[in-house]
């Protein structure tokens, strides 16, 4: 689960991680008032969306407006806020459709001596969280990792014990943090690692992390996301969820217990199991067409879920055919077959439907489909299914 920068900074403040004074505005008047309230001649206005690359991103409606801008007067603050609010910001991470800006963050300026990078993620290979730092702040860290991996310094930590002071000292040495700043870094980094563990984060990222001329250490940016599996025990954080940032159909699918991700092809697929669902997308591509989605109906899919799955798939106007691929395990082919028949009676299919069933109760499932009056193209195996569904859209 992702949250906004202003929410992440709220968490930072509670955890004892230094951020600059800032306010959130939802109108240009609020932005002007926030500028006055902050009272510093230089401030920055930042669009709040769940995607990175905002500084270089541009507003569709006001093409020369970027998602992050320095301002030096209340009028300028109001103008930039007006350009951003209610408009669509496109960044390298949003895709061409972009995201609508519903709020902006206005933050006081600061005296930047150095820009560093700090991130905490789970290192799957080591099976522990890892704190990563780099002197190359303010730029794309993926690029640094690719081109100059030696400039990224890592310290793993056990969640039960947290980050240790000697680890902070090692990192400070590599980052060129000296004198009184080392003690500040110690408090700062330990607090972030505690936040990562206590809040069940999956990512904490500060880029840039700023060292000021006075030697203070400040989180200029804040990006935090969470382990969705742990939200049952993170009630306060779950409140931060902003549904307007998520794909509406993906939210609807999740509510029905389905795992759905929209893609930009024209063959919809309905599959049981995540691995088989990905493979079904892959085989569609291998046969020269493009999948319209990833959809895993799960092991215990019933008639209502399958019907809802079809509604979601068919709501995508790009979809020209549907491929159902079920390998029954827990899920019985007969249940799925009954659900297909019921869904077709309820929704009605106007586009080709290719069905491949295998596994538990496959004979019964095939019989149900044959005896129904639903117009179905049956397939015997994966290749047959892919061939038939691709032929259906090109024929």
């Amino acid at each position: 689960m992702k949250i906004h920068e202003f929410q992440a900074k709220e968490l930072f403040q509670k955890a004892g991680v230094t951020v600059l004074r800032h306010m959130v505005a939802r109108t240009k008047e609020e932005a002007a008032a926030a500028y006055d309230e902050l009272g510093t001649p230089l401030a920055v206005v930042k669009a709040q969306i769940h995607a990175g690359g905002r500084g270089k991103g541009t507003i569709v409606e006001v093409p020369d407006q970027h998602g992050v801008q320095l301002v030096q007067s209340r009028e300028e603050a109001a103008q930039v806020a007006a350009n951003l609010l209610g408009n669509t910001l496109v960044t390298i991470q949003t895709g061409v459709e972009g995201k609508v800006v519903n709020q902006v963050l206005i933050e006081e300026g600061c005296d930047i001596a150095r820009e560093l990078y700090l991130g905490i993620v789970l290192d799957r290979a080591v099976q522990q969280p890892v704190l990563m730092c780099s002197t190359e702040g303010g730029v794309e860290i993926e690029k640094v990792a690719e081109e100059t991996p030696e400039l990224i310094h890592k310290e793993h930590f056990d969640p039960s014990y947290g980050l240790q002071s000697y680890q902070v000292r090692k990192l400070c040495q590599k980052l060129g943090i000296e004198g009184a700043s080392v003690r500040i870094a110690d408090r700062f980094m330990k607090a972030l690692c505690r936040l990562y563990v206590n809040s069940d984060c999956s990512l904490v990222e500060i880029n840039p992390l700023v060292v000021t001329s006075e030697g203070d250490i400040i989180a200029l940016d804040a990006k935090v996301s969470f382990d969705s599996n742990a939200m049952y025990r993170q009630k306060e954080i779950a409140e931060y969820r902003d549904l307007s940032e998520e794909e509406a159909m993906e939210v609807r699918a999740a509510e029905a217990g389905l795992s759905y991700i929209k893609l930009d092809g024209n063959i919809a697929c309905l599959v049981n199991g995540a691995g088989l669902a990905m493979s079904t997308m892959d085989i569609i591509k291998l046969h020269g067409a493009s999948p319209a989605n990833f959809l895993d109906v799960g092991g215990g899919a019933d008639k209502d879920q399958v019907t809802e799955a079809f509604r979601i798939l068919l709501s995508d106007p790009n979809v020209e055919a549907v491929l159902v691929n079920i390998f029954g395990g827990i899920a019985r082919c007969s249940t799925i077959a009954n659900a297909i028949v019921a869904a077709s009676q309820e929704i009605g299919f106007e586009i080709p439907l290719v069905v491949r069933l295998e596994g538990t109760e496959v004979e019964e499932g095939r019989r149900i489909l044959e005896e129904s009056d639903v117009d179905i193209i049956t397939a015997t195996d994966l290749t047959d299914a892919a061939t038939k569904v691709v032929a259906a859209i090109s024929g």
């Binding site: 969280p129 199991g273 691995g275 088989l276 990905m278 079904t280 390998f327 892919a386």
Partner: protein, 292 residues
């Protein structure tokens, strides 16, 4: 022989009185697995179809001599259930439950790596030695006793692979579903070690997917230590970056964990990679021919 489990394995189910626990305990027993007991705290003394229920894993082990468990308790209690099983001396633990917080698994793993225990999962279908012992939720009848060791990060895609190897007339030695989470108890490498020395296993099929670097690590291990033919398939060539594809662990992040990278690493060490998911069984046959 086979790996991890066989006809002598005695299995309990933690969470036996829940719907899923009861259903799959019956399924495993009907397959022929020695289901010797179950555990649900507070329900000790009851039974499920004549299978005794105990309050603790320790009680169950003392009374039945169980050496394997399958866990169906809710996600919030899964870490605790795994630790209880380890504490009671259980050697093979299959955690079927989906949705376990990843930091719970980080902590559990600290214990697992210090003990002589095989934790399979969480978020997995379990494991099966065809004709001898099934611990988990897979449909038993698609499996045939045979020579292919199948290991996979997926559930239903494993069934597909098993079905294809059965159709090729090869059958399986032991099939293990590792689970779809970012941190799982048993890795491809752990299983490669076991398959390599297992007499029944003559070839190995590895089914990976996007996210993490488990396949790359396995490829490096195969190059150094595995003499048996290895075939592989990687799911998610068409998956978009930054999106979690159903499994918590199936995500391309920061441009890392793509199918292309994994396929490249596997092919570089001579592993026969199936391009299509329909080609997994045939890929095993090609891998065997290549080594012959």
């Amino acid at each position: 022989m086979s790996i991890l489990i066989n006809e002598n394995t005695k299995v309990i189910c933690q969470g036996i009185t829940g719907n899923a626990g009861t259903f799959h305990t019956r399924g495993c027993r009907d397959y022929g697995t020695q289901m010797v007991g179950g555990v649900t705290p507070g329900k000790g003394g009851q039974d499920v179809d004549g299978i005794p229920v105990f309050n603790t894993v320790g009680d169950a082990v003392a009374a039945t001599g169980a050496n394997a468990t399958m866990i169906f308790v809710p996600a919030a209690y899964t870490a605790d259930a795994i630790l209880e099983a380890i504490d009671a001396g259980i050697q093979v633990i299959a955690a079927i439950t989906e949705g376990v917080p990843v930091l719970d698994m980080v902590r559990v793993y600290e214990i697992v790596r210090e003990r002589d225990v095989a934790l399979i999962g969480p978020n997995c279908p379990g494991l099966i030695t065809p004709g001898e012992c099934k611990i988990g939720i897979m449909p038993g009848y698609i499996h045939n006793k045979g020579s292919v060791g199948v290991m996979s990060r997926s559930g239903t895609l494993t069934y597909e692979a098993v079905w294809q190897t059965s159709n090729e007339g090869l059958g399986q030695s032991t099939c293990v579903g590792l689970g779809g989470d970012p941190i799982v108890g048993t890795s491809f490498i752990d299983l490669l070690k076991l398959y390599e020395v297992d007499e029944q296993t003559e070839s190995i099929l590895m089914i990976g997917e996007i996210g993490g670097t488990a396949e790359e690590e396995a490829a490096a291990y195969v190059a150094e230590h595995v003499t048996k033919p290895v075939a592989a398939f990687i799911a998610g060539r068409t998956a978009p970056p930054g999106k979690r594809m159903g499994h918590a662990g199936a995500i391309i992040s920061g441009g890392k964990g793509t199918a292309a990278e994994k396929v490249k690493a596997l092919e570089a060490v001579g592993i026969e990679v199936a391009v299509s998911p329909a080609d997994m069984g045939a890929a095993v046959v090609r891998a065997i021919a290549k080594k012959a």
